[in-house]
């Protein structure tokens, strides 16, 4: 009662705060009050969830007489909910505290404030939901409020079309989820999760539910090819909301998938797992490839979210494969990797979106080629950004490395799987995941290098100043969490172990007591990793190298040539830029990216410049969405004529359909 009570109270408080925000949104002090209270509620939420996890609290439930009269709203908090509540609480608290500073720059705070706390509250309710009705209702509220937040800058044409696309995809996703839950409830129509769990369903129905869940939750999480809305909608929102959408909302979708696929839908068949692994891997590779090609800082982060969701789903697919074969310990390993990566991604992706928000505020730009040299103007932000990109590039000793390493440890166990198809497929998938990880590193070298290093690429950077204290504080807290989770992963893994236990029925070895904070996923002899030792090693060797270089190299007076390969040229465009960085990968991956590159030469004698244009295209758009959209538009235009018939013809239509049905009946009999 205690656990769910606290969480439900916080959810209700956040929703009420949304209503209160409507009335006070116009005041000057409103952002501080609203964001401060949201942040406090999220802190309580996170602490309660972490305490529940640490004390191995039993699942608690609560029934509120709101909603369908015979059903009420069932709220349940078990270990799995608690993990995601902790994730939501931390992400929400940091976004709220960041927004106390960041939100001051908002031109129209009344377009953000009323929706922000409610968005957090709705996500809390999705995670707490204990019946299908509450789940779907909260899911839809979450979608609609985040849609309103995407439209915060509605005067911008791009935001409007992003909002429309998001609304369509969110509506589609909820509809698919509705079908999935309807199938699970069955003819008896019991919507409580406990009752759904007890229903015996045929393999066909279970597979159908599973497929619908992949589409429904996947469209919210951003699985390829349902990802198209994500890179336009997430960046369109204000940055603290982008942080929430990328860091937290996609994880709520992951929660929905885990809850249904592993918990509610019943035992899974092994052949479902390769589907998830393939989709996950494709998502990871495509997401990061598009991230490398993009020039917009926030869109790069959104594409990178797609990549990380792909990694999480690949891990979930592995967990399914092991689970279906009864190898619970290995399923637990894969599930741990998935949950840990979800947690880690929340930390570094929120941090990076906040960094982009700070940069956007300072310079008014988010295109990489308009930034550059920010490390001189915003040194603290630049340092925190460095922590973030190191973490997201999965470099030790930070947290991104730990979860990806665990995932690869799981991949290495695949020869134990009995199905030859999986034995062949999983190592290939592992290879592609490694490719995605390497590309991610390249992507964030590009991101950091072009935006923060070098010289300023536009005049807007010259006026940039360091961002405010609240924003810095929130970013620093997230960076600290990234470091802590990187060097003390064992405690984090022990914390989420109860959740893994209730989903797959096993847990990996306790990690907290290992010597040197070492992580031993399977057995001592196989592999182990100590973030702490790596950090010490990196620190010691790094300092030593720095000292040596400083000692031996810097003190000598050196003279350089005046024209050093043209680089001292005053024009910043001579620097290595984002486009330069992307070019080799664009050429190598030309077929996957549908890359195009043309050079237009002026005719002889014309003094005009030659032009080089290059770009990539998302094949999901041209092959899937545009044909679909034109088919729908064509049909509706044709059906439009039905609006303008005479009364007699309407009667005639009714009559004709009646006759048709009767004839059908006569033939069918």
């Amino acid at each position: 009662m205690m656990g769910v009570g606290v969480a439900a109270t916080m959810a209700a408080f956040l929703l009420a705060l949304s209503l209160a925000a409507i009335t006070i949104a116009g005041r000057r002090s409103a952002p501080s009050i609203i964001y401060g209270l949201s942040g406090a509620a999220c802190v309580v939420l996170a602490l309660a969830a972490i305490i529940a996890l640490a004390t191995r609290a039993e699942a608690t439930s609560l029934t509120v007489p709101i909603g369908l009269p015979w059903l009420g709203a069932h709220l349940v908090q078990d270990a799995l909910s608690a993990v995601f509540l902790a994730l939501l609480g931390i992400g929400g608290a940091m976004a709220s505290f960041y927004a106390i500073g960041y939100g001051r720059h908002e031109h129209e705070p009344q377009r953000v404030l009323p929706f922000f706390p409610g968005f957090l509250g709705a996500m809390t309710l999705v995670v707490l939901a204990g019946d299908a009705f509450t789940f779907l209702l909260s899911w839809e509220i979450m979608s609609l409020l985040s849609w309103a937040l995407v439209l915060a800058h509605h005067r911008d044409e791009g935001s409007r079309s992003a909002g429309y696309l998001y609304l369509v995809m969110a509506g589609f996703g909820t509809m698919v989820l509705l079908l999935a839950f309807g199938l699970m409830a069955g003819a008896q129509g019991s919507y409580e999760f406990a009752a759904i769990r007890a229903v015996e369903r045929s393999p066909g129905i279970a597979a159908l539910v599973f497929g619908l869940m992949v589409v429904g939750a996947g469209s919210k999480a951003g699985l390829v090819p349902l990802h198209v809305w994500l890179p336009v909608a997430h960046p369109a929102a204000p940055s603290h909301v982008s942080a929430l959408m990328s860091g937290v909302m996609t994880k709520v979708a992951v929660y929905g998938f885990i809850r249904v696929a592993f918990d509610l839908a019943g035992p899974v068949e092994w052949w479902m797992s390769p589907i998830i692994i393939v989709i996950g891997v494709a998502t990871a590779v495509m997401g990061i490839l598009f991230a490398i090609m993009d020039d917009d800082g926030k869109r790069i982060l959104a594409y990178s979210t797609i990549e990380n969701i792909g990694v999480i789903f690949a891990a979930l697919g592995l967990a399914l494969a092991f689970q279906a074969n009864g190898m619970h310990a290995l399923a637990a390993l894969a599930m741990t990797a998935a949950l840990l990566h979800a947690m880690n991604h929340m930390m570094f992706k929120s941090l990076l979106f906040m960094v982009m928000g700070a940069v956007l505020n300072a310079t008014g730009r988010r295109d990489l080629d308009g930034l550059g040299g920010l490390i001189h103007r915003m040194p603290v932000t630049a340092f925190l950004a460095l922590v973030g990109v190191t973490a997201i590039s999965a470099l030790p000793p930070l947290n991104g490395f730990v979860s990806e390493w665990l995932l690869f440890q799981t991949v290495l166990q695949s020869p134990q799987l009995p199905q030859p198809a999986l034995q062949f497929m999983v190592p290939a998938a592992g290879g592609l995941l490694a490719l995605a990880a390497a590309l991610a590193a390249a992507c964030f070298v590009r991101f950091y290098g072009v935006a923060f290093l070098g010289r300023a690429r536009s005049g807007d950077v010259a006026g940039a100043i360091e961002t405010d204290r609240w924003s810095l504080g929130a970013m620093a807290a997230l960076a600290a969490l990234c470091v802590l989770a990187g060097i003390l992963p064992g405690y984090l893994i022990d914390l989420i172990a109860p959740a893994v236990d209730i989903i797959v029925g096993a847990r990996i070895l306790p990690q907290g007591g290992n010597a040197w904070l070492t992580l031993v996923p399977v057995a001592d002899v196989r592999s182990s990793y100590s973030g702490f030792l790596v950090m010490v090693f990196v620190a010691v060797t790094g300092s030593a190298v720095a000292w040596l270089v400083h000692r031996l190299a810097s003190q000598r007076l050196r003279r350089g040539p005046a024209w050093d390969c043209g680089f001292p040229n005053a024009d910043p465009i001579t620097q290595y830029g984002g486009g330069s960085f992307a070019q080799p990968i664009r050429r190598v991956m030309a077929s996957v990216l549908a890359a195009h590159e043309t050079v237009t030469m002026p005719p002889p004698g014309d003094p005009g410049p030659a032009r080089h244009t290059a770009g990539v295209e998302d094949l999901a758009w041209s092959r899937l969405y545009l044909p679909l959209a034109s088919a729908v538009t064509g049909t509706t235009i044709r059906l439009n004529a039905l609006q303008f018939l005479t009364i007699r013809r309407y009667l005639g239509l009714v009559f004709a359909s009646l006759i048709l049905l009767l004839v059908g009946l006569a033939i069918w009999n």
């Binding site: 018939l645 005479t646 007699r648 009667l651 006569a666």
Partner: protein, 221 residues
């Protein structure tokens, strides 16, 4: 006795269908209204016969309602309306009479085929055939509504459709009396409403041709 009962019920229901065809055939409004009165009279007789052979006395009331309202009041009211509105007394058809009659025959064939098939398990042959005839009358009424332009003839089509409903209701034993009464009254009210509308249409457009409404709504045809 039983054979008699069957034959007469059959005869009356069959006549209803025949009169439905007569309705479709008429090209004068007054003749149309007279034929409609005839159909209502036949309906009253059919219902009364059903009351007699089923021994269900409340059906006499249904028959009386049919006789009073549909055979007398409604045709008389429509007569009056047509005269007062000075409506053009031709029935303007959309589809020619002959194709409409052919379509009507097709509909009768369909309903008989369907009903005899669907109720093959039922033992009461009388009810089966009655239902088939009733469905024919309903479909023919709808056909009339669809193929006529004049609002008055659409009203007549609607009323004759309703006659089919009453026939079906009385043919099937055990239909609650309340249902029949409420159908009768709702039809009466529908007629009043439609009548009021006719006056309004006429006031505004100088015609009860419903095409005028379509033009008014700015619609293409």
């Amino acid at each position: 006795m039983h054979d008699y009962a069957f034959d007469i019920a059959h005869l009356l229901a069959g006549s209803l269908v025949l009169v439905s065809f007569l309705l479709i055939y008429q090209d004068r409004l007054f003749a149309l209204l007279n034929v409609f009165a005839l159909q209502a009279l036949l309906l009253a007789m059919a219902v009364a016969w059903q009351a007699y052979i089923q021994g269900a006395h409340h059906l006499y009331a249904s028959a009386a309602i049919a006789l009073v309202f549909k055979a007398v009041i409604v045709p008389w009211a429509l007569h009056r309306m047509v005269r007062r509105l000075g409506i053009h007394r031709d029935v303007e058809t959309v589809v020619g009479v002959v194709p409409t009659m052919l379509a009507g025959m097709g509909l009768v064939a369909l309903s008989i085929l369907l009903m005899l098939q669907l109720t093959a398990a039922a033992e009461n042959a009388l009810a089966r055939e009655d239902l088939a005839f009733a469905l024919s009358v309903i479909l023919l009424g709808m056909l009339m509504m669809v193929t006529r332009r004049n609002a008055v003839s659409q009203v007549v089509g609607f009323m004759s459709l309703e006659n089919g409903l009453i026939l079906a209701a009385t043919g099937a034993q055990g239909m609650p009396f309340v249902v029949e009464i409420s159908i009768a009254f709702s039809v009466l009210i529908a007629m009043i409403v439609i009548g009021v509308f006719l006056f309004r249409i006429r006031e505004r457009f100088d015609s009860v041709d419903i095409e005028a409404l379509d033009h008014f709504r700015g619609e293409r045809r």
